[in-house]
Amino acid sequence: MNNSIAFKTLLFKEIRRFMRIWPQTLLPPAITTALYFLIFGKLMGDRIGTVNGASYMEYIVPGIILMSVISHSYSNVVSSFYSTKFQHHIEELLVAPVSNSVILAGYIGGGIVRGLVVGVVVTAISMLFTLIPFQHIGIAVAIVLLTACLFSLAGFINAVFADSFDDISLIPNFILTPLSYLGGVFYSVAMLPPIWQTLSLGNPGLIGVTDIDIRIAFAMTIGFIVVLTLLSLYCLHKGIGIKN
């Protein structure tokens, strides 16, 4: 009972946080994706033709949605949890009878909701440019949920180990964004030479984005979620980065 109230409190606090600053959290992905669709989809896409049997505009829609989900679920948790550490109001949680799993679930829940809201916004923007041929809605939603969960966890671990605001921007800027762009959002991995196709399989940004066996994508995503959840709980239990 106590834990469920604490979880709801923390989750609503996290949702309230990103909704309050919507010009920083929800407006930019709408504008950025509108530009992607306009420049890559409309202006250049017409000259590229089709990829894997779909128009270029249709081809990039899922990748751009998922790329937005990845970056926003990650950045929500990393910035929120690091700010909580930096301003010391993590102490509000540490003094209270809130279990480590509730703390983790609250922050990850916030990241997932932000990822989903951004996903809906980006989907809505994309529908202004093309008719999306929705198929396998259940699988698509499951992939979005799992991806948001996975990258929220990654953001949480980044925040746990971060000592400065530089530390929370390094990974998104120099790892996450390049891997997302190289993960087949704007091209099919099948278009690459064999060696790069093989190397691309090692790119976590590829998982769930494009042309990979769906069973492998699910298995790897769930596997990473389990590993990162255990690592996060271990860090909280040991007080790494948050306690003396």
């Binding site: 109230i5 102490e91 009878p97």
Partner: protein, 308 residues
């Protein structure tokens, strides 16, 4: 019943600094207890361990009979903490800060709303409930932290230098508030650098120095150990130098002011008799320093160098 019991509590930081050297301390339920010590003595480490912000190296903490290690949730539910530094979200409203804390303690939403309203009214912050907290004055921010600590009606309230940096008017009003909270049965542990505050509010006291408890007794008997009081005398007529008063050490501060050390065995009556014999009239007198301050310095000085 014991509100708090520390048994052989030790803390060694990663850099090898031994902040606590196995302290033992008991605080009875309902007490108003002062935990004093110079900077770096180990007070904040002890408070940090009790409130789960610092991990102890060894030893045990029991809060109202609950072991902080094995009955963590129950033990934590008993505690409210007002930390030394402002540690709430400066972008949140006052109301949300207090309401959110109630949620963390598992208080259902409707009850949390009532508790929040009660605490904010008690702290005279109700009219500021929708204000973003960073826009509050320093004194108001302190009161927000007290409201937040009280929102789940803790049995043990820990105040870590709650009046640091606030003006005297706010400090006095906070004293009244702390007395009121204590009178309703809440045990209070206070750390402060204002020893007048501790002397005025607390019934029992522990002094910590170099990571060890060097004094632990009730306030009255501790103050009773003072052998000498120091007084500043304002004189009616100017004096060119300090007079010789039998049994008293007298310092000449200026021509109309004397600083006199008064041994308790002689007392003020004897002092006035000596002054009258020399036809020195006194207009007014005041304590040179707070009595506890003097004792504190004596205890700390006596333990200087120990444990280094």
């Amino acid at each position: 019943m014991k509100a708090l019991s520390l048994q052989n509590l030790k803390k060694v930081y990663a850099n090898g600094f031994e902040a606590l050297k196995g302290i033992n301390l008991d605080v009875e339920a309902g007490d108003f207890f002062a935990l004093l010590g110079p900077n770096g003595a180990g007070k904040s480490t002890a408070i940090g361990i009790i409130s789960s912000l610092v991990t102890p190296s060894s030893g045990s903490v029991t809060i109202f009979g609950y072991d902080l290690n094995t009955q963590r949730a129950q033990a934590k539910s008993c505690i409210g903490l007002v930390p030394q530094e402002i540690n709430f979200n400066q972008f949140e409203t006052v109301h949300n800060i207090v309401l959110t804390q109630a949620g963390y303690y598992g208080i259902p939403y409707k009850q949390a709303l009532k508790n929040t309203e009660h605490c904010l009214k008690q702290m005279q912050l109700w009219d500021k409930k929708d204000t973003i907290s960073r826009r509050l004055s320093g004194g108001m921010k302190r009161r927000v932290m007290i409201a937040r600590a009280l929102v789940h009606a803790p049995k043990l309230l820990i105040l870590d230098e709650p009046t640091a940096g606030v003006d005297i008017e706010i400090r006095r009003s906070m004293w009244d508030l702390m007395r009121e909270v204590n009178s309703r049965g809440t045990t209070i542990i206070l750390t402060t650098h204002y020893l007048e505050e501790a002397e005025s509010l607390c019934r029992n006291i522990a002094i910590i120095n170099n990571g060890a408890i060097v004094e632990n007794s009730d306030m009255a008997s501790l103050l009773g150990r003072l052998h000498t009081d120091h007084f500043i005398l304002d004189l009616e007529r100017p004096l060119a130098h300090a007079p010789t008063l039998k049994g008293f050490d007298v310092d000449w501060v200026n021509e109309k002011t004397l600083n006199v050390a008064v041994p308790k065995v002689l007392g003020l009556s004897q002092l006035f008799a000596e002054l009258a014999a020399q036809q020195i009239n006194v207009l007014s007198l005041k304590n040179k320093s707070n009595r506890l301050e003097q004792l504190f310095m004596d205890v700390v000085d006596a333990n200087k160098g120990e444990g280094k």
